[in-house]
Symmetry: C2
Subunit: 239 residues, 2 copies
DNA sequence: TAGTGGTCTAGACCACCCT
DNA sequence: GGGTGGTCTAGACCACTAA
């Protein structure tokens, strides 16, 4: 039941990146250097680096090295233009509803398993701003399974996912999402400070975690007129 | 080296999957079997399989083998695949404008390079149907660079990307996209058979190809009320 | 128990980048 | 020329699955 060695290298590097020890643009130690430092074979180190590439933490350049990459503020596979691209943009998040224990809604866009239904839901609602302009309304549900004192706790760095990770050791393993263009309702239009009716980009997301039967459910309402949703994909096999 | 050996294995398997030789749920030959068949080391075969996992073609199960996976995406817009490869049978596509040579529009959502500007554009516009319901309007531009007789040619299997691939050996290497919710204009509402105004999901896409300075530009208008855009992503590193 | 994928080692040669 | 990542080989042992 030991943890694979390459995972130790991977987690170690990941933590150094997340904690800011290595900054965007920095060169990681070379593969040979890492192999020597961890007393491992280069192939083992390469497996660790390969996963960091897949997860978007680094890019590799032949003849140069592994470079820490900017990770975008992601909404699943998507990210909001302006959240991380424009330097100096002030992004912040405010609660409309602080986390609270509640029942699941009668109408819910995803099927819940028995364990989730029994546990009840933690619910909260946030509004995200870019430069003091409200851009995205987010409603989040998660089953109240082994999340002690969640509702009393402050979020780590204002981030729900970082809180899950650091406090409860929950990692996001995948996401399903669905996108629609809808007409705003009155309340959403008011919160996003847009005329009513306005076209709104509406997403439902289901995040899978490293815990079986534990998912994170989010609904997003985005005002895309000023900050469209962006996404970029490069096939790693081709140059 | 002409082409890395693992890429030959990868492409070979990918083609067998895409052509239907291996169907969803089928077991691929084991790693040892593949290594023997291609006269390669198992590690080399594993690299090929690993990329197929990353691209979502297969899943691996310890003790069992590599299993062909269903490739997702209800309308496949959030990844690098063309429409007709992704959706099932009840889909068809009709031209609103057949391919023709033209100037680039005065207002264009992406910056063009000199080579593209000089060459002029090939332009066409298509409407895509699911079950005889118009779902998506697509406008495509590509620079007229080394694409002999493009406008006279019929598309391969109704697919623009397959035509590029089979006839001109052009491969899609990546995509940038931007999403917005907008209000329909009169013409688009009419084509999509929705009331006017309706909220429409609007995407601009720029596909990079294996040819430098050659890009494919598409604008999409989607009626998401009946067929929302879906997308799924699983982190291959976990379990 | 036989076969599978998961992990790991210790080598090797190459193309690419920088100086 | 010296260092980097990219590719590849030939082994080894392990945990898991299925018959």
């Amino acid at each position: 039941m030991e943890q694979p060695l390459y995972l130790r290298v991977k987690d170690s590097l990941k933590n150094l990146i997340l904690s800011g020890e290595y900054r965007v643009g920095d060169l990681l130690p070379s593969e040979n250097e890492l192999a020597a430092r961890f007393h491992l074979n280069r192939a083992t180190v390469r497996q660790a680096l390969s996963e960091l590439v897949n997860e978007g933490y680094i890019v590799k350049h032949k003849g140069k090295g592994s470079i820490v990459r900017e990770r975008r503020n992601s909404l699943g596979l998507l990210s909001i233009r302006g959240f991380s691209e424009v330097v100096g943009n002030s992004v912040n998040t405010r609660f409309i509803r602080k986390p609270l224990l509640t029942d699941w809604p009668d109408v819910f866009p995803f099927a819940l398993c028995e364990a989730e239904k029994e546990a009840g839901a933690i619910y909260f609602k946030r509004l995200r701003y870019v430069d003091e302009t409200p851009v995205m309304l987010e409603e989040t549900y998660i089953a109240n399974i082994h999340l002690p004192r969640f509702c009393q706790r402050e979020f780590v760095k204002d981030s729900f996912f970082q809180t899950l990770n650091k406090v409860y050791h929950i990692e996001i393993k995948g996401v399903e999402q669905e996108l629609r263009a809808i007409s705003s309702d009155l309340q959403t239009a008011a919160l996003l400070q847009v005329p009513h009716p306005s076209p709104i980009l509406f997403l439902t997301l289901r995040f899978a975690t490293n815990r079986r039967n534990l998912f994170v459910y989010s609904s997003l309402w985005c005002n895309t007129s000023d900050y469209p949703i962006g996404n970029q994909y490069m096939n790693p096999s081709g140059s």
